[in-house]
């Protein structure tokens, strides 16, 4: 195995921490697993959306008569049929299921058709006549700033500025005054998309009930990461109470953030089903998936950092400009995320953050793995690398010198708990042979050695990520995750949870945790998940929250059942409670394992005593983990994961070709619930980060997506993907389930800057924008050779608005609780178990 574990101590867990198959994997390897598009219902109709061919246009008229006359067409919807705004965030309700008055990007849905078969849909879509008045389109951050007169979205407060934020934490001027050295840099991070292999699909089925004032009930199966929020928004747009809507996420073929919004196709399929009284399926084409997008925001960033001669950071001022596309989506949260976590990786005594998101005529951007933190992580880690070189400090030493400390508060009020970032850095340095590599690299070529065109380099970067958003999207006092468990007298165990498995293994995590607590095998357990009628709410598979939150809820529910089982076992076995153990399907005396009660017998005794055995557990993050200023709700998390990456690259200085030869990735996961799945998440994150660093880009030409296909939108194949070595660091978090933290998103973040820093190490050139493609490298090499600095890749700003178009909020930790956090000493041992 390429993954290695480093952990603090060996636990006596039976299930937790052991590599084992996912409980639902046999359906996936045999073709039995049902995904949304695999669902075929009797009398089912097929639906499709007509999408705008213009990036920005006024709709003058829509004529559906000819399409309606086509044999096989059953129903057609246009904007007037669903005139209710929706959106994932309560503050960004700016989308219609079908455009009203205006279209804002190529791909904006305009009409929806239901027909007997897909072939008829092709014809019907062509017969819908839409007259547009084409409007000027703004396709970049700079264009959106330069043309406030062309208003794309009415939600923009000034011009096309969707959201602007401005914060100062601590005294930034004093911090810069204290610095011996100050550096400023601009960076640009290009947008890219999730490209899950499963295209978005859904099947809606309306069951009429003439006796009901609502008229019936709706069931929607959809490839979504967030059935709970789809449930909410369907209710809002269809004007059907949530009690009459059931949303089910079947197996989901990958999400990465791209299936986290409520979508037009889900609403239209539902409305078409209501109108026709028949099930309706809409499966998006691959091109539509590119247009639905909600992917990585392109972000332009400016950073100014002050450091002392010894490398101590004194102040940072960070600005971000986000290209949001045409609608809000998660964009307000994304804007905050480009700024708030800068303080979670390294100690910053003062920090100023100004961010703004612009509307443009492109598909809406949203959350992609690393949501809003990936772009600034790239910028900050490359910027720090430059500072290290400026000061003549080793880049590893500079990072180690400034590490955030466990069980502290950041300058912007975020509570830090467990943190093994130092250990992660040490491990990747050691395992990659960092010191040897650089010692050899610095040796001058020996006599007679040819100057070869291939230059090698190694780069390093560090990062942190949230283990779940500390606040729900709709602020309320309700649990973020709940789990119910039911035992039946035959020994059956059923676990119910709204959590949604998108491939990361959240369903299996529930089984492992309940199995550990009840002393049974995970395969024993039946799981019902992601069903808004059957299962209690889990907010969804976003913000890396599920293991931490649903895991803690599962522990709470299982422990209540265990109490009931032990209550009867202690009497039946005549063994004191404190000596009872549950494992391997029996409850027994830990000092005399022969004194034992089979699990099924214990269940029967408990049911006889207590009646039906059903328990529930809930989880909500603790209070007081953030500052008390407006906007403090984005960034807090019950815990943070930490990751580091070393990348080794080879650059051909004649062609500019860049080969990433190997990635070493260390991840502080607290405690692996299943190390196989954690390593899988780390490897998947490293792969996706590699793609973003060197090839993936969502780019546009004349208002249209330039490459909406999996052939032209480059994503890494087996032949591209570098070798990935995973190192898991296990120092249990005090509040995580069995000490566990997230693994799904954090490990992506350090990969991009590690590769960028490795390219510099190889050829001495900085490419301050992603992706780092051969043409950019070659241009930079040629420019340097010809000493024509104007041809260098330089990210330069359009006029940054001055003053920043929003009120500055200043805050310092002393204004919050002055009570120091409890310091829990953290000792680390790094025993290797391969």
């Amino acid at each position: 195995m390429s993954a290695t574990l480093h952990h603090q101590q060996k636990h006596s867990y039976r299930v937790i921490g052991t590599p084992r198959p996912k409980v639902d994997v046999y359906g996936k390897v045999t073709g039995r697993a049902l995904y949304a598009d695999d669902i075929m219902l009797p009398r089912m109709l097929y639906g499709r959306l007509l999408r705008s061919p213009h990036p920005h246009a006024r709709i003058l008229s829509i004529d559906i008569r000819r399409a309606l006359e086509l044999p096989g067409v059953v129903a057609i919807l246009t904007g007037d049929d669903l005139p209710e705004k929706f959106g994932i965030l309560p503050s960004s309700q700016d989308e219609y299921a079908l455009a009203l008055e205006k279209v804002r990007y190529v791909g904006d849905p305009v009409a929806a058709v239901a027909a007997l078969d897909p072939d008829t849909l092709d014809e019907a879509i062509k017969l819908i006549q839409v007259d547009y008045e084409v409007l000027p389109a703004l396709m970049s951050i700079d264009e959106a700033l330069a043309h406030p007169d062309v208003k794309i979205n009415d939600d923009a407060r000034i011009g096309n500025i969707h959201k602007a934020v401005s914060y100062e934490f601590g005294d930034v001027n004093a911090g810069f005054a204290e610095a011996d050295f100050i550096r400023e840099d601009w960076f640009y991070y290009e947008g890219n998309t999730h490209a899950p292999i499963e295209a978005h699909a859904c099947v809606a089925s309306w069951e009429p009930n003439p006796g009901s004032p609502v008229g019936g009930k709706l069931t929607l199966w959809s490839s979504t990461q967030t059935p709970h929020y789809v449930h909410r928004e369907l209710s809002k747009v269809l004007k059907v109470p949530q009690s009459h809507i059931r949303v089910i996420a079947p197996n989901v073929g990958g999400g990465f953030g791209g299936k986290s919004d409520p979508f037009s196709h889900e609403i239209c399929a539902s409305e078409l089903s209501r109108r026709t009284g028949r099930p309706v399926k809409i499966t998006c084409t691959r091109e539509e998936v590119f247009l639905i997008h909600r992917g990585r925001h392109p972000v332009k960033m400016w950073i100014k950092t002050g450091v002392k001669r010894d490398g101590t950071l004194t102040a940072m001022h960070f600005r971000s400009f986000l290209d949001g596309g045409a609608y809000g989506s998660y964009g307000v949260a994304t804007t905050y995320y480009t700024g708030v976590l800068q303080t979670v990786t390294y100690k910053l005594p003062s920090y100023k953050f100004e961010g703004m998101r612009l509307f443009t005529n492109k598909p809406p951007c949203g959350p992609k793995r690393g949501h809003g933190t990936t772009q600034p992580r790239y910028a900050v880690e490359v910027h720090l690398d430059k500072i290290a070189h400026d000061l003549g400090i080793d880049p590893v030493a500079l990072r180690l010198h400034n590490l955030i400390e466990p069980y502290t508060r950041t300058i912007n009020g975020l509570r830090i708990t467990s943190c093994a970032l130092g250990e992660c850095l040490q491990q990747v340095v050691e395992r990659s042979g960092w010191d040897t590599f650089h010692a050899q690299k610095n040796n001058p070529p020996t006599q007679g050695q040819q100057e070869i065109p291939l230059k090698r380099g190694m780069g390093i970067a560090a990062s942190s990520y949230i283990c779940g958003a500390g606040k729900p999207i709709y602020w309320n006092d309700l649990p973020h995750s709940s789990v119910q468990i039911r035992l039946d007298r035959g020994g059956g165990v059923t676990v119910y949870c709204g959590s949604t498995d998108i491939g990361q293994g959240s369903t299996s995590i529930l089984a492992y945790i309940v199995a550990e607590e009840l002393g049974i095998q995970p395969e024993h357990i039946h799981l019902e998940t992601a069903d808004t009628t059957l299962t209690p709410v889990d907010l969804g598979s976003y913000s890396s929250r599920v293991t931490f939150m649903a895991g803690n809820a599962a522990i709470a529910a299982a422990r209540k059942l265990k109490e009931q089982l032990f209550a009867v076992a202690t009497e039946h076995l005549q063994v004191p409670l404190e000596h009872l153990e549950a494992a391997d399907g029996i409850i027994y005396n830990e000092h005399d394992p022969g004194v034992a009660l089979p699990f099924v017998k214990a269940v029967q005794l408990a049911e006889a005593r207590f009646g039906a055995l059903v328990t529930a557990g809930s989880y909500a993050p603790p209070e007081g983990i953030h500052g008390d200023y407006k906007g403090a709700g984005v960034g807090p998390s019950p815990a943070y994961s930490y990751s580091t990456c070393v990348a080794q690259v080879a650059v051909d200085v004649e062609t500019g070709e860049l080969v990433v030869e190997k990635l070493w990735l260390a991840h502080d996961v607290g405690q692996s619930i299943n190390p196989l799945l954690v390593a899988g998440q780390v490897e998947g994150g490293a792969y996706m980060g590699y793609g973003e660093a060197v090839m993936e880009q969502q780019v546009f030409r004349k208002g249209r997506h330039k490459i909406p296909s999996l052939l032209d939108y480059k994503l890494a194949t087996t032949l591209d993907t570098p070798e990935i070595e995973t190192i898991l660091i296990e120092i249990p978090d005090q509040e995580g389930p069995f000490g566990g933290k997230e693994a799904g998103q954090g490990p992506l973040n350090p990969v991009i800057p590690a590769i960028a820093n490795a390219v510099y190490d190889a050829v001495g050139l900085r490419i301050d924008e992603t992706p780092i493609t051969p043409d950019k490298i070659l241009r930079a090499l040629k420019a340097t050779a010809a000493t024509r600095p104007t041809q260098r890749i330089v990210v330069s700003p359009q006029e940054a608005p001055s003053p920043w178009p929003t009120r500055l909020i200043t805050w310092s930790p002393r204004e919050a609780s002055t009570q120091p956090s409890q310091v829990i000493s953290q000792s680390v041992s790094t025993k290797g178990v391969s």
């Binding site: 195995m1 390429s2 590599p19 198959p21 996912k22 994997v25 046999y26 359906g27 996936k28 390897v29 045999t30 073709g31 039995r32 697993a33 049902l34 995904y35 598009d37 695999d38 075929m40 072939d119 999730h194 490209a195 899950p196 292999i197 499963e198 295209a199 197996n251 989901v252 073929g253 990958g254 999400g255 990465f256 084409t285 691959r286 998108i502 491939g503 990361q504 293994g505 196989l676 799945l677 390593a679 899988g680 490897e683 998947g684 994150g685 490293a686 792969y687 996706m688 296909s709 999996l710 052939l711 994503l715 194949t717 087996t718 032949l719 993907t721 070798e723 990935i724 995973t726």
Partner: protein
């Protein structure tokens, strides 16, 4: 107009009235209910719809059924034989090589063909054989490990039980 065609799928003969312009992918899924074959692009870009035609991996989204009436077609449903999993199915499950699982059927079939031609593939051969199958979840690492483990398992089986008891290989060429 629909046309009557005969397909040999997973050892079974099916007569289907299909629209002649419909792809093998559509006919397998919509007409035969073999939904284990997935579609990711329908343009021959992602490999999710890979099936075996006389043991060779092909993209069913680029194949017309009418042209393959004389071929033995193997889908993911045919990789498992009478409830016994192919070693690759076992190792993909055991070693975490299937995350979301959407690319998995296609990769398993491409992998089965690889192991038939190269029972002990080098890493380079495995990469080459799977280069047309995109996986967005795993970073491919666990997939390589599962292919290697299946190869070892099949070798052990051959050594232990002799040639005649080699597990029936659905990647094998059609008889007759």
């Amino acid at each position: 107009m629909r046309e009557l065609i005969t397909l040999h799928v997973n050892g079974e003969r099916h007569e289907v009235a299909a629209l002649p312009h419909h792809t093998l992918l559509e006919v397998l899924r919509e007409d035969l209910g073999l939904i284990g074959t997935k579609h990711g692009c329908e343009l021959g870009e992602c490999g999710a719809c890979t099936v075996l035609l006389d043991g060779m991996p092909v993209l069913s989204c680029l194949t017309l059924p009418i042209e393959v009436q004389h071929c033995e077609i193997t889908t993911i449903e045919g990789l498992e034989q009478n409830g016994t999993l192919h070693p690759l199915q076992e190792t993909f499950a055991e070693l975490g090589a299937a995350q979301c699982g959407y690319c998995t059927p296609g990769i398993l079939l491409a992998g089965a063909a690889l192991l038939r031609d190269h029972p002990q593939p080098t890493r380079e051969q495995t990469k080459e054989a799977l280069s047309g199958n995109l996986c967005r979840c795993t970073g491919y690492t666990k997939i390589y490990e599962a292919v290697d483990a299946a190869s070892q398992r099949m070798q052990r089986h051959v050594r232990g039980l002799g040639e005649r008891s080699t597990p029936s290989n659905p990647g094998a060429r059609r008889l007759s």
